[in-house]
Each structure stands twice: as structure tokens, then as C-alpha cells.
Symmetry: D2
């Protein structure tokens, strides 16, 4: 069998949708369950939405919610979907919390609601790293995995890279 | 940096397309490069097409080509895209070859050319397992990873499961 | 208001789906209602499935069902979704029946279930012609409209063209 | 043969795209040629981009450009892609110009760049009305056709309706 994995949803580009009446982007419900169904994922996954916000609007209080949820859930392997803009910040907060669990953060550059999204690839990537990596905090983006306190998003290219 | 990863394409449902003039499914070129681009994958990946066939039509000679290619390529980490019907057979042939490399086989239940494909999820999954698992042969399907000689495809459900 | 329009579904490439367990194309339920919803169509449309077959398998008995249904339904404006291979034959059968109604046949070269389908364009096209053309039988494909007994499908190109 | 049809692009939701680096919607190039290709459209269509703006930002000067372009082009049958918010205003400006041509305005509630767009349906609809309607100005939305000076967009529902 497979170990249970918890997925915490915080929103970000992953879950953005197009509001046709107002002509703008917004959040409704998470698409995670639909994506897992499409992927024919047979892992023991529980999805819980903590918030649905653009990560540029995340506050320290929001990050504490993420940390506390990771600490208190029964699972030892966790994936957190998150906006890419401040994913590295939340990763550092999780590192500082010393949870002793495997936590993998991931996101998307293109909303799932759009046809050409990297979201499904990143989700598959993060769930795989979550199953095999030892306790620690990681960021899974662009097919790669980074230590949670040694990564940043390059604002010009939108690509994640290692930092000293 | 990341270790170079080789992707060998053998066809399978992953790459099936719809021939609108004849009204049937067929193979043209692999979609792997396009999928990696969409995924914004920044791994050092080289894609090589070995064949483009339905795995039900794979012969022992075809499997030898897969084994030999995995042996002779310079990379130590390999992903093989493959039809799901006989993926477990090719996995066993690779186990028997004792290559001392990390080889992960994956595929898709729905062609990439169709909208609702599991292909991108499986590709992200396989590339992640390929980066972190030790030398050995594995099958990555449905979000899970199996030892290459301990897996089979359940024909009724289409789901992969562990066998003794 | 708008006049009521009847849509008769006969199958064809329009509605083909991919059977992931058997790895082949097949028919399940029609996607017409879903397509009309996506299109935000506000016409008074009733959809009825007459059959779900590849038009190469249509018999004279099947064609009689299509003709009889067009004759007996209360609507004077009708769209028939149909496989492209023998659409011109069914059109001629309808011309011969002299129904005194506006009947527009259309189809698709790529199944709706696939991402890159011409189906939604053809549906919009056919429903528009059905609203404004006088009584008669027509084929709407490739953005054009043809008199029902003056059209054929070019087998090499897959394009519909006028014939004397 | 078919009469030549001119398509003038003004932008609107039809052509909006997602800027992944800034996380917002914007305009790049029109998708019209790509949509016509996907539709396997065999009409004699020429596409010209007049502007790429949200119709809420259209000024009288912009509307004069649309009117003048419709007047001076050689074609007598024209489709104008337009944002839905002020489509009725531009339609009225075209009615007032008394061009003596068949002009059909259409748009989309969901950007083409997103998976579930009504754009392709509306394009097929508009091109069909443009071929058969007599000289006049029309709005083609939701599968229906309206006289250009007797239509408005219902802001609550996003649906187009007839007005006295």
C-alpha cells in the first residue's frame, strides 16, 4: 500500500479562474480533486483547502495557518499548492518550524482552468517527491526539486533556481 | 545542477493521434518535447524515439532494442514512455538485464492529443522518481511507483497494482 | 424570440470517444448538450439522439429513421449531426423526401472529445444557417453551406465541395 | 465559390491571454487565423487586426476606425470580433454609418486561450450569418442574431437580448 498523503491548497495561479461576467481572474473552488481524477491517481490523498489567495497577498498570519496545518495533520507526507511568487517564503517558514515531516510545495505558472497548464505536471512531480524524499521541506517546480531554504523564483524568467 | 536524464519513447497510448482522413488512431511524431515545454521543465532531458507502436505489438526484438538503448546511453537515469498493456513485460526484461541504472517506465491511459490526458501527470511523476530513486527498474503509474518485477496492469480497471 | 430548432444526433466523428480500457474509439453519450452549454447557446434547441454510429455503417433503414424523424417532429428548422463519410447520401435521401422544412446536416473531422475539434465551429455554423435559410436540405461544413444534393466529401482532402 | 469575407479584429475577451510572468490578462496576437485553421474553414476569409483592446476602453475615435475600415474594404460581407461589453455601441455606430454592407459583430465570454471558450462557436455562427444575411448590421451571440440597433448585453447574466 501507499502512505497517506495530505494536500493543502492555498490557491495561487494553480486554481485561478476566469470570471466571465466581470472579465477578470478570481478564485472559486480548488480543481485539485478534478486533477487527481483526470490523472487516475490511486494514492491515498486527502485534499484540504486552507485558503484561496494570490501568494502576493499572503500575510504572516496566513503562513502560520499553513505551518500549523502541516504540524497538526496526521500525515507525515504533505504537498502544499501555492502561488509561485512567495512560495520560497512559505518554504522558509516551514523549514524554521522544524516539523520533521516531508513537505513539498508546488504551484503553476498557468492556471489549471486554462488549456496549456503546467499544473498537472507539477502535481505529479510533487506527489512523487513527497512519497520518496526524507523528512524536510522542498519546492518542486520546473521538474526539479529544491531544498526549501535554498530556492527562489527568478522574477524575469519565471523559473525557479537554487540559491546558496 | 541536475543530472542528465534520458527519455526513450516507444509510443503507446501516450502518443496516439486521431487520423481525421481515415477516422482511426495512429502514430505520427512524439509529443514529448511539446509536453516538456508546456510543463516548463528545466531538467537536462534528452528525448530519443526508439519506436512508435502499440505495446500489444511489441516483440522480443523490440524489447531488446529498449534494453540495449538503456544500457548504451551515457545517462544513468532514464524514463521510458510505453504502452500500458505490456509495460510490465518490458519492465521485467529490464530487470533481467541488470543495467545498474535508474529506469522508470510510464505511460498514459488517454492519449496526450486528447484534452483529458493523464500523460502530463505521469510524465512529471516519472521524471521525479527518476531523479531520486536508486538504481533499479520501476513503473510509475497512477501516481504510484512499483518495483519493475512486482507490478501488473489490472485489465478490468486499467489500474496498475503490486503483485507478489 | 427564436423559432424552436430540433437537433437530431446520429453519431459520427462528432461524438466519438476514446475507450481507455480497450484502447479504441467508440460511442457513449452525445456531447451535444455539453457543447451547447459551453457555447452559451440561448436558442430554443431540443436534442434527440436517433443513433450513435459511424456513418460508414449507416443502412437505408437508418436513413429512413432520419427522414421519418425530420418529417414527424414539430419543428420546421432542424440540424442533423452526422458522420462526414456518408453525409451527402443522407442529404440526398432528405432532398428526395420533399419535407418542406429547413434541414442542415453537419459533422466534424475531429471528435469533440479531443482538444482540437472543428465540432463547435460547425455546430455554430449549422445552427445559424438553420435559422435563416428557407425550406430545403443543406450541408454545412468547413464554414460553407451547400445544397444537399450538390455536395460531396473529397476523400483525399477531407474537405466538402460542390458538385454539378 | 464563396464570396470573400473580411474579418476585422478589435480584441475583446475573444483574444485575451494569460501573462504568466505578471499573473494577469493581456493581449498579444489574435488567435483568429489559428481558429480558422482548427475549424478547417474553407471560406475566402481575410483577417485584419484593427486594434487589440478591451471594449470598455474603446473610444469614439476607435469606433470611427472600425466604421471607416468596414466602409473602405473591398468586401461586402464583414465579421467584426469585439469585446462584449460595448459591442452594442459599436453596432449602433455602424448602423448610423449606413454602409450598405452585411456586417456581423461577435465576441466571446471566455477567452479562446482558455479551454472552455464559446469563441469557436460564435465565430462559426457569425461567418454563417455573414454569408446569407442581406446588407445590414447584426450582432451574433449565444447562437442568435440581432439587428445591430436592437440589442444589448444583459450585465447580470452576460447574455445578449433584444431591445425595442
Amino acid at each position: 500500500m501507499t502512505e497517506p498523503i495530505r494536500v493543502f491548497v492555498t490557491g495561487g495561479t494553480f486554481d485561478k479562474e476566469y470570471d466571465e461576467l466581470k472579465g477578470r481572474l478570481y478564485f472559486k473552488d480548488t480543481h485539485l480533486p478534478e486533477m487527481l481524477r483526470l490523472a487516475r491517481c490511486r494514492l491515498d490523498v486527502s485534499v484540504r483547502t486552507l485558503m484561496m489567495i494570490d501568494s502576493l497577498e499572503m500575510t504572516d498570519a496566513d503562513r502560520r495557518i499553513v505551518v500549523d496545518s502541516c504540524r497538526s495533520c496526521r500525515e507525515a507526507r504533505i504537498v502544499v499548492t501555492h502561488g509561485t511568487d512567495t512560495m520560497a517564503e512559505t518554504a522558509r517558514a516551514l523549514v524554521a518550524a522544524g516539523l520533521g515531516k516531508t513537505v513539498v510545495l508546488t504551484g503553476a505558472m498557468i492556471p489549471w482552468a486554462f488549456g496549456s497548464s503546467d499544473g498537472l505536471f507539477n502535481l505529479g512531480s510533487a506527489l512523487s517527491f513527497a512519497q520518496v524524499l526524507p523528512a524536510g521541506v522542498y519546492v518542486a517546480m520546473n521538474g526539479r526539486v529544491f531544498a526549501g531554504d535554498q530556492v527562489r523564483k527568478n522574477r524575469e524568467s519565471g523559473i525557479f533556481e537554487e540559491v546558496g
